[in-house]
Symmetry: C2
Subunit: 112 residues, 2 copies
DNA sequence: TTTACATACATAATTTTCTTAGGTATATAT
DNA sequence: ATATATACCTAAGAAAATTATGTATGTAAA
């Protein structure tokens, strides 16, 4: 796990990117997917995730589809066209930012 | 300028790295140096910078040296041995984080 | 000569974003 | 029974930033 400082400001970008690459995902699924893809180094907390999902839906970049799985509720999120555009912008901005930070911190541009 | 979200959590790392590479720098100098090195893409705000410098000094990772330049005060910060260690740790953690995010967001590991 | 901008420090109110903690509920394995 | 996993949610508080403001000097332009 990274220090919580580092992860700040990346949540929206991560959510939008993952939803941009799949038809639909539900909240819990997002937490598991990120955990899996990062080898546990990034773990989304529910207290941060759910309010952010609600905000993104209210902004019109996500839409929802509530489904009953057995007796449990599952709320699928999918990205809207506006959201897809935003996802692209955010990912591109982050890519640029990474390059700037790489230079600023004197990191090797590409090392295992 | 990047959206303010992105820069969050990177301030301490940036300060520690720059001070790690120079004998001493003062607050205003840090803002100008970062602006210069990033082509204006990252601009430290004084409201964030000064409280952070004070906190780092209180933690013992920075020490200060107040100088009179003409009639103006200038407060030079230099890094302590503890601070140098912390700078290294933070930079390494950030390098690791960048790799994780690069993978998670599906970015090219090395593109101009 | 006064207006604007740069230098150089600082703090305070507010906002944003996250953590921590708690709540509800079902399913499954020990 | 108990713990763990699934699956949603909110609220109090902390952390870290922005925005606004204050003080003060130096310099260049109008």
């Amino acid at each position: 796990m990274y220090s919580s400082e580092l992860i700040k400001g990346t949540l929206k970008t991560i959510i939008l990117k993952l939803l941009s690459d799949s038809n639909e995902m539900y909240g819990y699924e997002l937490t598991q997917r990120v955990k899996e893809l990062t080898g546990g180094k990034i773990q989304l907390t529910e207290g941060a995730l759910y309010p952010t999902l609600h905000a993104l839906e209210a902004q019109g970049v996500l839409s929802t589809n509530v489904v009953n799985v057995g007796n449990r509720i599952r709320k699928y999120y999918s990205i809207t066209p506006t959201g897809k555009q935003l996802a692209n912008d955010k990912v591109n901005e982050y890519a640029d930012f990474i390059q700037t930070m790489t230079f600023l911190l004197g990191l090797k541009p590409n090392m295992g």
